[in-house]
């Protein structure tokens, strides 16, 4: 039994915290909200120096050959300071490519960060919905995946032409390679598209949380390589993305809790620190309870991806479900513990609140992760 950080993991986390502390990311978030162009620092060069782009790429391909839990540790540090590092898009994409022998030539540049990938989120079928689906640009109904047609004279070499769209793709603006799933003859296949290929359009979109880079991606007869990654890798990428956003959210919860606790100790009313009142104390311990539950599920997901692949979907989606609710609650608690000041523009609390509001609606939304937990458990019950 060993469910604790190794010395290397402690070091990775501390190094990430140290690296990100050189930037005033939270202050930059406010300035960017005020419309200040270029306020947000470009953290990709820093990520490259730290080796983060290659976290999930094997050593043979020039990566660090680490696993999901290590990536989650870095995501948590990004979440603590609302740093937009483009890893949420890059890491799941590299996980698919690393499983694709025919993508080998791309890997060195992706591992070094000389080129950046973005994952086109494709939700795998569940126990009730047999289709693969994509996040819609608006509304409740889920979208279809692009269909791979014949790619003209290169079709013999595994090239296809893709037509379709993906909405709210994390870190798509500026990415060099787009990696996702398309349907060919009704079956899912991994695909890689160069962002500068014909018919590819990436439209940056900003919603509420300016620290989060998103793009609407449309493909029109765009030439793509069909990857030879197994289908487990394609479903795994979706679940990995759930685990990564969960880790990032819990990092934000850590900060929200620390700031709230510090204020509850120093702010006095009726002659007492407000943290001495049960109403305040108990709502802060509720944040801690949800944070600890989320952390335990990150361990579950981190272990299951290699240690029990059949449980990875359950682990990653339960982590997402708990972490997302934890951030919702932590951000609202952060505001209310601070009283009126917590709801003002000058305070950091609204920045964490904005992060919470947008995060819960990305990558299928928290609701679909929660539903998948149920689906996985019901299927387990049937099998038992």
């Amino acid at each position: 039994m060993n469910l604790a950080l190794s010395d290397e993991q402690e070091f990775l986390r501390e190094a990430a915290r140290g690296t990100l502390s050189r930037f005033k990311t939270v202050q930059a978030a406010r300035e960017a909200l005020d419309g200040e162009q270029g306020a947000l620092p470009d953290l990709w060069p820093t990520a490259c120096e730290a080796g983060w782009p290659g976290l999930l790429i094997g050593e043979a391909h020039g990566g660090a050959g680490l696993d999901a839990f290590d990536a989650m540790l870095v995501m948590g540090e990004c979440g603590r300071v609302l740093a937009g590092v483009a890893l949420l898009g890059h890491l799941p994409a590299t996980a698919i490519l690393d499983d694709s022998p025919n993508a080998a030539e791309l890997m060195a540049d992706l591992a070094s960060g000389a080129r950046r990938a973005a994952y086109l989120p494709a939700q795998p079928p569940g126990d009730l919905d047999e289709r693969w689906s994509a996040d819609p640009a608006s509304g409740f109904a889920r979208g279809d995946l692009p269909v791979a047609g014949e790619g003209g004279r290169d079709s013999d070499n595994g090239r296809v032409a893709l037509t379709g769209s993906f909405a709210f793709v994390p870190d798509a603006p500026g990415a060099n390679v787009l990696v996702g799933v398309a349907l060919r003859d009704g079956l899912p296949v991994g695909v890689a598209v160069l962002a500068d290929a014909p018919g590819v359009q990436v439209r940056p979109v900003t919603r509420y949380d300016v620290t989060r880079s998103l793009g609407h991606v449309t493909l029109k007869d765009s030439p793509a390589v069909v990857l030879d990654a197994p289908v487990e890798s394609l479903t795994g990428a979706w679940h990995l993305a759930q685990a990564l956003i969960a880790a990032e959210s819990l990092g934000s919860v850590e900060t929200a809790l620390e700031v709230s606790v510090a204020y509850a100790k120093e702010r006095f009313t009726f002659g007492r620190a407000i943290g001495s009142y049960q109403a305040v104390k108990h709502s802060l311990t509720e944040v801690l309870r949800q944070l600890e539950n989320g952390r335990s599920l990150l361990y579950y997901a981190g272990w299951a991806r290699r240690g029990a692949p059949g449980e990875f979907a359950l682990a990653a989606n339960s982590a997402r479900s708990v972490a997302s609710r934890a951030l919702d609650h932590a951000a609202r608690t952060m505001i209310s513990v601070h009283g009126g000041i917590g709801a003002t523009w000058e305070h950091d609390a609204p920045l964490y609140f904005r992060r919470a509001q947008l995060s819960r609606r990305l990558l299928g939304g928290t609701g679909s992760a929660t539903d998948r937990v149920a689906g996985e458990l019901l299927a387990q019950a049937d099998a038992a």
Partner: protein, 405 residues
């Protein structure tokens, strides 16, 4: 990161498993065909079985060898529990004695007490109960009023009432927290005693709960005589000594959540049987939320085990797992009964039993409010609630509360 045994742990597991393979046919049958039904017969059979487990080294795993234990760590205790569960045989009858009270006597008792009591406790010949809580002393345990007065010859006279006492109806001894000096602040005037339950003046009465079953007892003490050697840990040191017991209780509860049967697998199975409910978005959403939190507790338990393995002692945050388990099980009970309908509340339904048991469990081992206070103060470092009892002699405090001390 892994959930695997070390080679030493695997060897220990194999050893336990082979003992159980050999002896599990001797275990009393408590469920299914041929199960014992008479309560007295069950207790008698479980005592004998505990004795066999002790002889096989499967009881008192963490007790030092000189007291009949195995001198092993909490991980081996957990492995032993897992193997006993896997063999589908009952564990020891006196988990409270062996798990909490024995270790307290080992830490604080006299050589005479250790020599007299530990052996029969370990083998199930004498079952023990914990006599701490009172009607007016639960979360505020140091407010106990059971009063022991020392006589001129050094012996003691005890009067008062205890409550929520598991196993008292067949216990031989209890470890009791009593007030021995009301004229000092309340944490200071307490002493821990060993009390024979068959002593004149002791009355045990079953305490029926919502389900109609008596899971606990009330125990009354009317001028009970105790000799000088009944004191554990010294006169006036009762609070510090009792904290040892409570620490072992926390470890036991922290590692035992799954043992209560409140887990996502069981709850999902109940809903999976209903073809319509399992497709209902609201049912699925609720199940997903409840199950996620219960899964988290399972892995919090593994994190706790990892910490124990490294020689760390679980902190008060372990109490949050109890909050999650109880509230998760309450929600699960509601959801499952909503799906099944009134039949879930029939007399013989497992869900009716669970639904009845949980409101009380919410306060067991510390109410949710007191757990949140403790965690808020000890883990988050929030300032304590202002207290009106600090430094005030207990007798004065009682008179302020409008009652005689």
């Amino acid at each position: 990161m892994d959930l695997d045994d070390t080679p030493e742990q695997a060897a220990y597991r194999a050893q336990v498993r082979s003992w159980l393979d050999e002896h599990s046919s001797e275990a009393p049958v408590l469920q299914g065909p041929g199960a014992l039904t008479d309560e007295d017969e069950i207790i008698a059979a479980r005592r004998v079985w505990q004795g066999k487990l002790a002889e096989g080294g499967l009881a008192g795993v963490t007790w030092p060898k000189e007291y009949g234990g195995q001198g092993l760590g909490p991980i081996e205790q957990v492995i032993c529990n897992q193997e006993i569960a896997r063999a589908k045989v009952p564990g020891i009858l006196d988990a409270i004695g062996v798990g909490m009270l024995g270790p307290t006597i080992i830490a604080h008792g006299t050589d005479e007490q250790k020599g007299r009591y530990l052996g029969p406790m370990l083998h199930g010949d004498e079952v023990w109960c914990q006599l701490f809580s009172e009607p007016a002393a639960g979360s505020d345990l140091a407010a106990v009023q059971a009063r022991a007065r020392q006589q001129d010859d050094g012996s003691w006279r005890l009067s008062g009432q205890k409550v929520w006492t598991t196993n008292a109806q067949f216990a031989s001894y209890g470890l009791l927290l009593a007030r021995t000096d009301p004229d000092v602040p309340k944490h200071k005037g307490l002493t821990l005693f060993i009390v024979p339950i068959d002593a004149p003046g002791v009355t045990v009465r079953g305490l029926r709960q919502i389900s109609g079953e008596a899971e606990f007892n009330e125990v009354f003490f009317d001028d009970v005589a105790l000799d000088e050697g009944a004191v554990v840990g010294g006169v006036g040191n009762g609070w510090g000594t009792a904290l040892t017991t409570l620490m072992y209780e926390r470890v036991t509860i922290g590692l035992g959540g799954e043992g209560l049967g409140y887990n996502s697998t069981r709850f999902a199975a109940a809903l999976a049987r209903d073809p319509d409910a399992r497709r209902d978005p609201e049912v699925r959403h609720q199940l997903g939320q409840i199950a996620s939190e219960l899964l988290a507790v399972r892995f919090t338990g593994y994190r706790t085990l990892t910490a124990l393995q490294k020689g760390q002692i679980p902190g008060p945050e372990a109490g949050l797992a109890k909050v999650t388990i109880v509230n998760g099980a309450i929600k699960a009970g509601d959801l499952i009964a909503d799906v099944i309908g009134p039949d879930a509340l029939s007399q013989d339904s497992e869900w009716a039993y669970m639904i009845s048991f949980l409101p009380g469990l919410k306060s067991a081992g510390g109410t949710e409010e007191i757990l949140r206070n403790t965690v808020g103060e000890r883990v988050l470092g929030l300032p304590p609630e202002p207290r009106l009892d600090k430094g005030i002699p207990f007798s004065e405090l009682r008179s302020k509360e409008g009652a005689p001390a």
